[in-house]
Symmetry: C2
């Protein structure tokens, strides 16, 4: 079930060998449209979302992607592990087991986890974080059976209350540490980690421990919109130094896919072909010339 390494594929346009389109970036495209768009733009990989996969049907989605020659770099997303009580726990386990199975059927080895925020009315942040650790212990071996790695995504601290109580790369690595690296890794998403003064040392640690499962990029632009979930920009439009960040991720030993994942209403309203052209252009300008190893 291991996804082919970028170097093993031959469908990429020059300079796009490591580029993957996370399909949320073209939110208004169906899965077949996104697959076709990637093929036409010379983008060799795609990160899929479960809702889009469900629209198409998992088996058909898997066949479509396979026939297109694209690699599935990741499946977004499992997680939401913070519900309190036995019923919430069971529901989260069931849903994440299904997500693992879907990832395997789609031919990707990477299931991104957004761990969830505080339950309604709760102020117990340590409790919510403990539940994440607890459920990971149940899910990691299950994922391992399917050749899938759970990729814990630390989200920007502004999402701590409502989306993810895992807020830093160091914290994600602490959660991953008890588990085999083949079962649990971390996502490095530029938008969520760029501000972190501990980032250089935590990226080096992630590399030493073999934990970097995915590298996602988009830019931090200002002003933030009314819904801060939707404030991300194209690479190069904001405040993140992608040259430095990509060099650090590369120096940590990561040579896998670089997935562009952008939540932005304005970009979503742009025709998909145009968005992919911008994505490809920015990748070549700001990311792709980093040293490959």
């Amino acid at each position: 079930m291991t996804a082919p390494h970028p170097a093993e594929r031959g469908t990429a346009a020059p300079g796009l060998e490591r580029l993957s389109l996370n399909q949320i970036t073209t939110k208004h495209w169906s899965l077949p449209e996104a697959v076709r768009g990637c093929g036409q733009a010379g983008i060799p990989a795609i990160g899929l979302w479960r809702d889009k996969v469900a629209e198409t049907g998992t088996a058909r989605a898997a066949r479509l992607v396979r026939d297109s020659g694209l690699t599935v770099s990741s499946l977004c997303r499992g997680g939401f592990l913070t519900a309190a009580g036995p019923e919430g726990r069971r529901a989260a386990l069931d849903d994440n087991r299904r997500a693992v199975e879907e990832a395997a059927e789609l031919g990707t080895d990477t299931l991104v986890l957004v761990v969830g925020g505080l339950p309604e009315g709760s102020r117990d942040l340590p409790g919510a974080r403990a539940r994440v650790a607890d459920l990971l212990a149940e899910l990691a071996p299950y994922a391992g059976q399917f050749g899938v790695r759970l990729a814990i995504e630390p989200l920007h601290p502004m999402f701590c209350a409502d989306r993810a109580v895992v807020s830093t790369l160091g914290q994600a690595l602490d959660l991953a540490a008890p588990h085999p690296a083949a079962q649990v890794g971390v996502v490095v998403d530029s938008y969520h980690v760029w501000w972190d003064p501990a980032l250089p040392e935590q990226l080096a640690r992630a590399g030493r421990d073999g934990r970097i499962a995915a590298y996602q990029v988009c830019d931090w632009t200002l002003p933030l919109p009314a819904d801060v979930l939707l404030g991300r920009g194209h690479v190069g439009d904001g405040h993140i130094d992608f040259r430095s960040l990509t060099d650090q991720v590369t120096a940590a030993g990561y040579t896998g896919w670089i997935e562009v994942e952008i939540f932005n209403e304005r970009i979503w309203a742009t025709p998909g072909e145009q968005t992919l052209a911008t994505v490809a252009d920015r990748h070549r300008t700001h990311v792709a010339t980093a040293p490959h190893r």
Copy 2:
């Protein structure tokens, strides 16, 4: 110039012995109005803002506060140290030296520093952070001459690009470390630090090193407003566990003022007396019963 310790003052209403009103919370009150409001509400201390002090005149403001029996818990704010180039550097030093002098004249030993974001168009976060360290080295001895302590405030990471490249308590403590604790301390502001998984260990470290210069409180409420600067809520209205946080700050040895600092258009539009009544009520309910040492 050392501000009296809460226990040394006798103007507080029961349960409000450690409460201070940061005057941004009643933004539409002038300094004389805020001083009068605190006296009437039994709030024994006030955190002043330089723009409000300037409106009134520093000497008159100092006299007004002194005559009222209030303690000035802090002056907000110096900082904005990240400008590049010799001219920006000199302007920042000049302004911060004036802020130190104003703090001394107002009778407070605490000058809050918001260190500034990235200069326009810059992506050089390490460079901006290095300039903060550089200017602190110039300013700390100057502040020491006036009996004033520079209190570095880590701001929530969502303000990293535009307001403060110091984003965590640990980072603020690293910046303070080269300087005497009497010259450089840190601000613990609930809104900015509550999410940090490293908070317990960094609070303990701050206590051991004698660095906690101020404890500010307001709550993290959702949804965030269009301008995220203005999204802060009254203590008790959001997701922060003030019992746990205050216990940790107290266990770290901090027994000073607890300053309520709220940026919120809706609260600003509320009559000041009503805001102060809510502030006092929430302080008694969520904060004041923490063990005092």
